[in-house]
Subunit: 483 residues, 2 copies
Amino acid sequence: MFNWKDDRNLTLLVDFYELTMANGYLKNGIGDKIAYFDMFFRNVPDGGGFSIVAGLEQLIEYIKGLKFTDEDIDFLRNKKIFDEEFLMYLKNFKFTCDVWAIPEGTPVFPYEPLLVVRGPIIQAQFIETMVLLTINHQSLIATKANRIVRAAQGKPVFEFGSRRAQGYDGAILGARAAYIGGCAATANTIAEKMFGIPAVGTMAHSWIQMFDNELEAFRAWARTYPDNCLLLVDTYNVLKSGVPNAIKVFKEELLPKGYRPKGIRIDSGDIKYLSQKAREMLDEAGFTDCNIVASNSLDEFIIRDVLQQGAKIDSFGVGERLITAKSEPVFGGVYKLVAIEEENKIIPKIKISENPEKITNPGFKQIYRLYDNKTNKAIADLITFANEEIDESKPLKLFDPIFTWKTKTIENFRARKLLIKVIENGSATYNYPSVGEIKSYCQEELKTLWDEVLRFENPHKYYVDLSLKLWKTKQKLLKQFAD
Amino acid sequence: MFNWKDDRNLTLLVDFYELTMANGYLKNGIGDKIAYFDMFFRNVPDGGGFSIVAGLEQLIEYIKGLKFTDEDIDFLRNKKIFDEEFLMYLKNFKFTCDVWAIPEGTPVFPYEPLLVVRGPIIQAQFIETMVLLTINHQSLIATKANRIVRAAQGKPVFEFGSRRAQGYDGAILGARAAYIGGCAATANTIAEKMFGIPAVGTMAHSWIQMFDNELEAFRAWARTYPDNCLLLVDTYNVLKSGVPNAIKVFKEELLPKGYRPKGIRIDSGDIKYLSQKAREMLDEAGFTDCNIVASNSLDEFIIRDVLQQGAKIDSFGVGERLITAKSEPVFGGVYKLVAIEEENKIIPKIKISENPEKITNPGFKQIYRLYDNKTNKAIADLITFANEEIDESKPLKLFDPIFTWKTKTIENFRARKLLIKVIENGSATYNYPSVGEIKSYCQEELKTLWDEVLRFENPHKYYVDLSLKLWKTKQKLLKQFAD
């Protein structure tokens, strides 16, 4: 029923260097050489303890539809730098790579491959821009939304940010990612049509201004929407005008029998103070069941602080600071070559850098999440070569990849592979879960993380270790460059 | 030739409350009441002295295509809160408003209406979300790009941010806005196809990794692209490996007669130090004409600082901090009801707030930009009622709308109306300039601003005054609420 589709031809939404390299690979006779790329990130935004990966459905749909139209080819030909052979290659372009990915909604950690692509270098390289753009954007918003949702301590958070989003997809796919991250609903109507995310809303200040006065505007609303009588009370003065007028209308029994007013929304001023006073006024008037919704430049810190100060707020509308991840609006995922194949053998590759944190983990890899069977909590993630298996029946020794003397031996655990195959030889092999399913899965997975990791300031660093085999290969490659 | 088109049906990219209000207006018999809305912003991002408005072409195209499909109507019917009469209204929806706008690329200031919409309340209200989303996003990026371009002091700035943009439009329309703001080119190929913005690019680190060693990779590039031999030198070690190998290849004369190598790109490390050392090495080897391009998390502050420290950089590739306006990723434009019509008379409306900066300027308005005929510099902007004319032949007295004792009388000036009609009774009356024309216009307009306003920290506050008539009306409305 809900079926997001994007019919735009976004094939040329690609960094131009992917095309110059592709042409060069072909010309140098290595276009079909098999390469492995990892997409991974290095830092959790806002100094958080984990990120939530999202965007896979959109990425797979893009890959499924990937083709070059005649118009695209003509455009490229006009650039006068590509060989005709390459343009013919693009004309007959067929994506034949394999892709592995961590399912959407999974909590993930720095340096873990969120996506692995294996295939002819031209193809595997070409999708870099869209891999990063798609996964970076939605992971950013899902991660930010979850911070805000955690701060709200179970009170619903509504995504209200479309008007301040960075472009139309920013609003639409941002609403999707926010829902995956835990938001209860969105103001963006098309997100319900496309994904089934509940769209909600009542009135803006202009509704009040269109009537002779606030009281008349409230009355008109109550008559029009007896089952959704939530009144915006801050057009003129919250405590002197808005709340008294709302109570007056609630008491006038304009609603048919059996209907109760929903409550009020406060969109400016000090929401801690105003919500406490408004709560008192509503309670005194007998409307203890009426909710107070707050909106106005909220984020996880303001929500945490006003709740700690005893604000009487039942739900939060969060706009610009969520939909742009304002405090840190970049999810810095990168896409790096980690191996090539020579005579059917995988040759791990490394990228050195003067900044040690920019050094890559070489090889074709898998990630195991290790859960304690007694507590059901995640103990650590272990990055291994793809062909390494973990024997759950034996104790497993983990060690820190930098401070290698720090070790830990675990027992009575289970190991779950995080990377699953989603595209095989160019064909999608993945059944998309609905966004509701992704959201539920995310919530379940978050329960496996210790509180220490969930904390949003100075969280405990979750262990992401390397297998001994992978660690040794990395050291060997590093030494080659040091020599 | 270049023709951006967006065939998606974005009608339901609308905050749900626009629909509940619209249904309510119709039900309360005021759906056809004429209303005036202003779009304006309150703060220049990053504490700058001005913003650059952008996005008008996309907004007009959206309005031109605005209609509700049967699928949209069915979806809304299923929400079970809209009247059938309203759904029929939407089925026959025809946009009949008038729209005035400030042309794209114009430097603009807080509280100036960037867009004015006049028409039946249902329609004028309905487009709020898309007006804000479209203009906020592109104005944000154009403004940020211009800051970065000014910091680069005439050295070209390339927009390299697609992979970190917030969604596909964030990348595509962000590239458009960045070009309007002054960028010389983009890495985003589709932006050239759609808008004619030059797309540029050479190689990523993976190109180097695909060959046996850096030298071989450079040689292969030189042979493939003799006319675009710009080598990425930081895959292993800039000064020990990258630059020496580049020089070696430049000297091998792999390029056909008449071709000169373009230069090098540095993408990590300290670009001030590395560029100075690399410059020395290139110069010593006789490649004084080879350029040095720098990229790696740049913004206006880093660019200003490294240039001040004598970095030898000829052009800059700027990614995530431009395409997301990282330092302040929200352009806080709002859309407020400012007047209604009663019996063909315009009744100004005001929105009060406990935060004085949130109080609106009432009425249907025009903005005049006043230029000094001698210096050709902009002296001030004057917001007036739409029917006020300015007599350039007489001295004009301006006064500060808050500190009213601060006055200034100007003579020998010309007054230019900033708001022009772009949609009349629902039909577009505006010929879009190309993005190149918008960019040139923007550069010309910036020349009319004093250096004091252009400064990017603590700029001089440009004067935006109200006409006496408008100021008096505002005071009267404020007083009504105080009483």
